[in-house]
Symmetry: D2
């Protein structure tokens, strides 16, 4: 199998660091270039202490990026669109980990952002990079847009139910708990340790920007409701989505629902259905998923109503970003889908 030369644009951020960690261990990647505006010339271990001594690789300036087979774009939100045009000259395959190309439709983009997309014609070029939903399209894609971390958890939790029309879509409420690494590596008043440590900050009770892509992937229209809120907890890495859905047919049993989830996710290498009867680990918790590409899913049926609580957990830098992108690369390149994603996570940690 041929070896790929790879570029990472925005390699000093947290997602960039995680991409580096994964790709340095990928046998199908022969050559890595990594750019950073601020750290050009420095060894990557000075910025990502976990990679100390792992490689002699140094950051370079974006202008010095040489043509290669594939570029991962790990720029802050809103910077991808601008960068894309130029990067497309350098590599035939682009995987964007920002949020600029996740929506298919320019009109939908305008609906959510209030302005036109800078490159509206490009939107439909990008395949939404969630392998569990779009594996075949990813395989043939030259442009891939990785899903957002909160969106990945929510979509994987709800898709089996929504795709079968089992849910009263007007009533779903999704509560996401998010780790602080989601906000990137730039210090802000909100990320200052004395202020942030131990805080429980409902930072987005309504109007989260990830809602747009969730609706798209669940087959909803922009005007359809999806009641979503997000709270940052004292956790660095991780997403947990607690989804309250209301079944249209209350006679559906827990057993029926397990059968549905198994049908969709049984063969999936990175979706684990968690079904313990008891014990502290009986429902998905992002803690032991740090560094992995797993999305754990479990649920509980409310015996007193039509409610089903579906819980999904993942690592926002892993399955929610870099891991998902590497999984997409594996699909495109013909590698085993789990290549370089074998890490099973730590416990306790």
């Amino acid at each position: 199998m041929r070896e790929w030369s790879v570029g990472i644009v925005g390699g000093s951020g947290y997602v960039g660091g995680e991409l580096l960690r994964l790709l340095l261990g990928h046998p199908g990647v022969s050559d890595i270039q990594v750019t950073s505006r601020r750290h050009a010339g420095r060894r990557i271990g000075t910025v990502h202490p976990n990679l100390r001594g792992r490689t002699g690789l140094k950051f370079r300036r974006a202008e010095d990026l040489q043509p290669c087979d594939l570029i991962f774009i790990a720029l802050p939100h809103g910077e991808s669109a601008e960068a894309t045009r130029q990067l497309a000259q350098l590599a035939p395959l682009l995987i964007d980990l920002g949020g600029d190309f996740r929506l298919d439709d320019p009109g939908t983009w305008r609906h959510y952002h209030g302005v036109d997309h800078p490159l509206p014609d490009e939107l439909c070029e990008f395949v939404y990079g969630l392998p569990e939903l779009h594996r075949e399209r990813i395989r043939r894609a030259s442009r891939i847009s990785s899903a957002g971390c909160n969106a990945t958890a929510t979509i994987l939790a709800l898709h089996p139910l929504y795709s079968r029309g089992l849910v009263d879509i007007s009533r779903t409420v999704v509560e996401v708990k998010a780790g602080t690494s989601q906000g990137g590596n730039a210090p802000t008043a909100g990320s200052h340790h004395p202020d942030r440590s131990g805080a429980l900050r409902c930072y987005r009770p309504v109007g989260h920007r990830h809602v747009a892509e969730i609706k798209q992937e669940l087959g909803l229209r922009p005007s359809d409701p999806l009641h979503f809120s997000a709270t940052a907890v004292d956790m660095v890495r991780g997403v947990q989505a607690v989804c309250h859905v209301f079944l249209r047919d209350p006679s559906l049993t827990e057993r029926d629902i397990w059968a549905i989830y198994r049908q969709d996710y049984g063969p999936e290498p990175f979706v684990r259905l968690v079904n313990e009867k008891r014990g502290p680990h009986r429902l998905p918790d992002p803690r032991p998923l740090a560094g992995t590409n797993f999305c754990d899913i479990g649920f509980v049926r409310d015996p007193d109503s039509s409610r089903l609580v579906v819980i999904a957990a993942l690592d926002n830098l892993g399955k929610g970003a870099a891991g998902q992108a590497v999984q997409a690369f594996n699909i495109v390149s013909g590698h085993s889908e789990t290549r370089a994603l074998e890490f099973t996570g730590l416990y306790p940690v």
Copy 2:
């Protein structure tokens, strides 16, 4: 004003320790007896390190409790009912901080617990001890049952809306984040630090026992829905309730709703309406409430639907337990309602 002699039964637990801290600083309390099965004979500072050197008081056995004016019962769940009969011989006023006497109706108790209440006739003797709802009944009571911590946050968040019939009661979803001190001071597999630290544990996605009292206080019947789930986060002390409610009249503005909350809580000394426009503290967070008797309440109106997200935060050992009980004592005894509850909380912490 006369001084009260006070007993605390179950004084070695977390709630008992908080009661001690508050009552040792109460000018209307002249004499405190505190019992502990396990620690009888030891100074209280050996169990509650914050009270070191604060008092020479020692734990005594429950059998050695002498008659007094008031007994706070801070026993583990399920032990209050049994103890009550005997304690009623020792003091004319009982304030129970367990969960055995929070429901008014024996039938409702049976509905939730599956068995008959051990002292069904006593249930209606107890006043539900939330001053914001039952101040006048508390003033005349000889039996008070403090509200549960999750229930206190949820009821205070929702009561202004429910009492006015503004809400579609079939749709409300309440997501509670709870600190680990709620589980008491007995080590368990679930509270073991290496396993519990950093965990995000949805320990009660459905079927939380606090739902019964919440429904009672919101004027719902046991058969009415209230979609409630609770997640333990890596926090020792605190409750945050995120309540998604759906307004029956979507034309209600944020301004209208503020007016309603101000009408109900404006004069309340311990309910603070949080209404910042921006900044990291614009919505209630339990962190700076540790040790206080405050319940902070704020909300955000979803512009795209009839949803209103109401957020309440408090200290589960403070307003959610010991503080609320001392507030009730202040009401009964004719003290200023804020006596011994003046602590404003720390920040940062």
Copy 3:
């Protein structure tokens, strides 16, 4: 007793916020002005969320500060000296909580800082504000310089031994664990939550600036050794100093040493000697001291050598800063030394 009008310069910082919390509860303070460059005009509760609804006080500009009886200077390190000259025109009593006036001797200042002190003649005007060592001088002072937080813990731990010449001064090793609030409220790369959370950062293995004042107070010369290192742990508020000292007379028993500490600190209202035989709280831990003015001290004698491990803990914003300053104010003003400092701390928390 007369009421004091008080100014707080630099009131939006963590130390300023703690001063506000304490002084708002002080019956001898009638009028408070508080300045902030950045937040002038805003209510203090918007910056210090624990003080929400506690007062209508707003920040003002330093230029708008009116003459008053006493000014607390809570400016960042290095800004006090400059401000002092002007503030001295506004109030007859200054209490500085920065580090600019802690050393008595201009030569010693030059030794440690490499440059001359900007106001060398002022240095000897300031009394070192540690009541346990300088109570009588504080009582008569018009200029007080509060001790540093790490210095307060270390000095109180070691003074009884050093003042009696019991220790081989060449061998003492002090290991301080520090909370992140010590670094102030300005976000930096080092305080960014995802990076700082869970870190164990030996930020000052040698050359800590607090060593100068520790040596001064222990009666050492600048050239005498004091082996000091400081590590920031994942804690917001607190200092723990673990001091390894080597007794010149190895026949000194644990009992002898307790007698010495009791002699020095027995009557002190804010030094608690911790002497549990067993249990998790048998040695000082800053956790339950947050918000208090206590310094807890305990020790263990190594049976196999002349080593004694003395451990001191305190709240860096309390006894290590604002609490100590209020204690000094109480001494100067003739109030009970514990006035407004009665909070006993929380547990668990």
Copy 4:
């Protein structure tokens, strides 16, 4: 290369879980048996949630252990000695991760434990399993005793200096910060989350049992001093040893010392010398080492004295236990020493 069949005795503990994680990914291990008294019959993923879906392996009873090539003994402290005699019948190679066989000399054992070792003749059969010191003996060993976690950090930090006689051995002070997983997976009062969270607990200021093996490996006699203390911080996984040593020749420069450490550790695959000039990661921190087999070492020279502060960090379950044991297995079995230990750690985390 032949494949090894392996047994893990005590596989439900934290060290057992980490061994499983590593060995399941080891290409030279064909067959794993894992015992647990309490969980016999259950799938390992129910106890170690990170291994869910990773394997169908179940716990078995110790009595059901079949003969195999190698047994890892991961029993609680004090249980290895007893078990060894029987396990020696089942496998020609034993690697003990408890503390029963770390001392070479029965007399030294008696000195520290006050009683005779139960199998004194076996002591000298066991090779101390630190590859950096005993690689060649490990290669030929049939009994290996892995080093303690605190000991591993301290020995690797100090060995280059002690082995060359550069240090005044009477003066060294070692301060260890330890994570809570070191205490094992049994809930205790000391590990109860509400009590343990945020605590700074100097649990062993003197008399730590790891001192015996440290002295042995540094070439000290039991009567020689080594001033050691250990504090548990709010960290699950990790050890940081801050070692204050005093150079006999104060003219030794930082450069000289780097040369010494490079000489000893330059070729070592798992010792990384950390030598950043600045930034938050310039000294070793266990945080990004979780799950790895690295020991990071750095130091700072005190310009004002003969003191050198050497800091070592590692993962107590990785290099401090399971990783070290797998490294020893790689040496014995002729695998590359880094086999199954390639994980580079996460950041941020």
